[in-house]
């Protein structure tokens, strides 16, 4: 419903409480539900003020602050009765209006805005009202502008008759390092040292062991995991990797008799009965 429609349906039922109001605006005498909807149409104090100025055919360059303030307060009071979510913004404006009103009652500085904005406390209010009104009109123009999805649709993309060959993003060691550095930076900020520097080779050996186990599709003798070319360090690394994997529950180590073959078995391939052979 537009404001006009709401107002057209009006009948004097509602009453406005608050300060004694000599000039209660007619449009506040409408059925409560219509009044609530009407009051909800205002976007804020500037919107309400502009409405009052237009309705009363006031000259924005020479605003009769006393009259405007009175009407404004009547509306704010009505909004308050409906518990509209307005609070701060409207009350702030009310305070500002009252201040302008009191200042304009002082004998000096009774000039209209054209004569000199200096000294007229209404100048800033006028400037804000006009700026907001411009934006409001621009907003309406934007909303009326034909737009994609409502007034027209983009044509395509139509299907490709052939599967496109998508180029792959480039592999970049720099990018990888940058990512890892970022992670470490974050960790450093969040929880110090929880991820300690650890030799890559152990982690890599862990992957290698798991990969070989997967290809073996079953258990492997520990010795077969040790390759001749590895050297002592390599053996040590592989052994540490195995221990680490056990700790992480990624595999089982099994030795069925003292000094017997040490079997390495991927965790998922460990049938419970068999793997527990050495236990009761």
């Amino acid at each position: 419903m537009s404001r006009e429609e709401i107002l057209a349906a009006g009948a004097p039922i509602a009453r406005v409480y608050g300060e004694p109001l000599t000039d209660v605006p007619e449009d506040l005498f409408i059925p409560p539900e219509a009044l609530r909807v009407f009051l909800e149409t205002f976007e804020g104090p500037l919107d309400l003020l502009w409405y009052l100025i237009q309705k009363n055919r006031l000259d924005v360059r020479d605003i009769p602050v006393a009259r405007l303030t009175e009407q404004y307060l009547a509306y704010v009071e009505a909004m308050r009765r409906f518990d509209l979510d307005l609070a701060a913004d409207y009350l702030l404006m009310a305070a500002m209006l009252l201040e302008i009103k009191s200042r304009s009652l002082l004998p000096r500085a009774r000039a209209t805005l054209e004569e000199g904005e200096e000294g007229d406390p209404r100048a800033e209010l006028m400037r804000r009202l006009l700026e907001y009104e411009r934006i409001k009109r621009a907003a309406r123009a934007l909303a009326d502008q034909p737009r994609a999805g409502r007034d027209f649709l983009w044509a395509g993309p139509i299907e490709w008759g052939h599967t496109p060959q998508r180029p792959q993003p480039e592999a970049s060691l720099d990018r990888l390092l940058e990512a890892w550095t970022d992670i470490l930076q974050r960790l450093r900020l969040e929880r110090r040292h929880e991820v300690a520097a650890e030799a890559v080779s152990v982690r890599e050996a862990m992957s290698r062991v798991l990969r070989r186990l997967r290809h073996a599709a079953g258990a492997l003798a520990f010795a077969t995991l040790l390759e001749p070319g590895q050297g002592r360090l390599g053996v040590a690394v592989t052994f540490v990797a195995l221990l680490e994997l056990c700790k992480e529950n990624a595999l089982h180590l099994e030795q069925r008799e003292p000094f017997g073959t040490l079997w390495v078995r991927p965790a998922e391939a460990a049938p419970p009965t068999e793997s527990l052979a050495t236990e009761p």
């Binding site: 976007e43 006031l58 621009a138 034909p146 007034d151 044509a155």
Partner: protein
């Protein structure tokens, strides 16, 4: 000029229809080897526009480039196919967008100052999610507030090539006349969908 079986014109047409985004002239030039040059392509595009004149689809040039789109006149037919209609935005959304479009780059505080009312985060999120606004930087000062500006997508969706093509702001003089009661429409017409 032809490229094998199909003319340059037919290939440009197909590329525009097959692309999921508008194509600037430079992108169209790179379709061909050797590069036919900007002039040839410009005239090919003009010919295409001419060819499509009588159709319900037209070739337009927006901020991001060339693209085909359906004409507004047939939207009522197309709407019958759609399960859901385009979203309606509240006055708060449009006014916020207007402040950003005409006064960019602006902070949230600037928007609140102009509208005279607190801005809900939801409004900015709606506009960001639609791809119409984005943070383009931060203003120095307390809290380093984000600076918002409109995007190319915003211009594309409104069929504009540049921010200067936005509807002009109303002249101050026109607003100073104490007129009859202002006509205040609260929403654009697709309210309630």
């Amino acid at each position: 000029m032809t490229s094998g079986q199909f003319s340059t014109k037919r290939i440009v047409e197909a590329a525009l229809l097959a692309s999921d985004e508008p194509l600037p002239l430079e992108a169209l030039r790179r379709l061909f080897e050797p590069d036919p040059g900007a002039d040839i392509l410009a005239s090919v595009l003009a010919e295409l526009q001419q060819e499509w004149r009588g159709k319900a689809v037209e070739l337009v040039c927006t901020a991001s480039g060339w693209r085909f789109r359906t004409r507004a006149e047939i939207q009522p037919w197309l709407d019958r196919l759609r399960a859901q209609r385009a979203p309606a935005y509240s006055r708060a959304v449009w006014e916020t967008l207007a402040v950003i479009a005409y006064r960019q780059p602006v902070t949230r505080g600037d928007i609140e100052a102009i509208r005279g009312v607190t801005l809900s985060t939801q409004v900015l999120r709606t506009l960001e999610a639609r791809g119409w606004i984005e943070v383009v930087g931060h203003r120095n000062g307390p809290g380093r507030p984000a600076l918002y500006a409109t995007t190319q997508r915003f211009l594309d969706d409104l069929g504009l090539r540049h921010v200067t093509e936005l509807p002009p702001l109303a002249e101050l003089e026109a607003m100073l006349e104490p007129g009859p009661e202002a006509k205040l429409k609260d929403e654009d017409e697709d309210q309630g969908t």
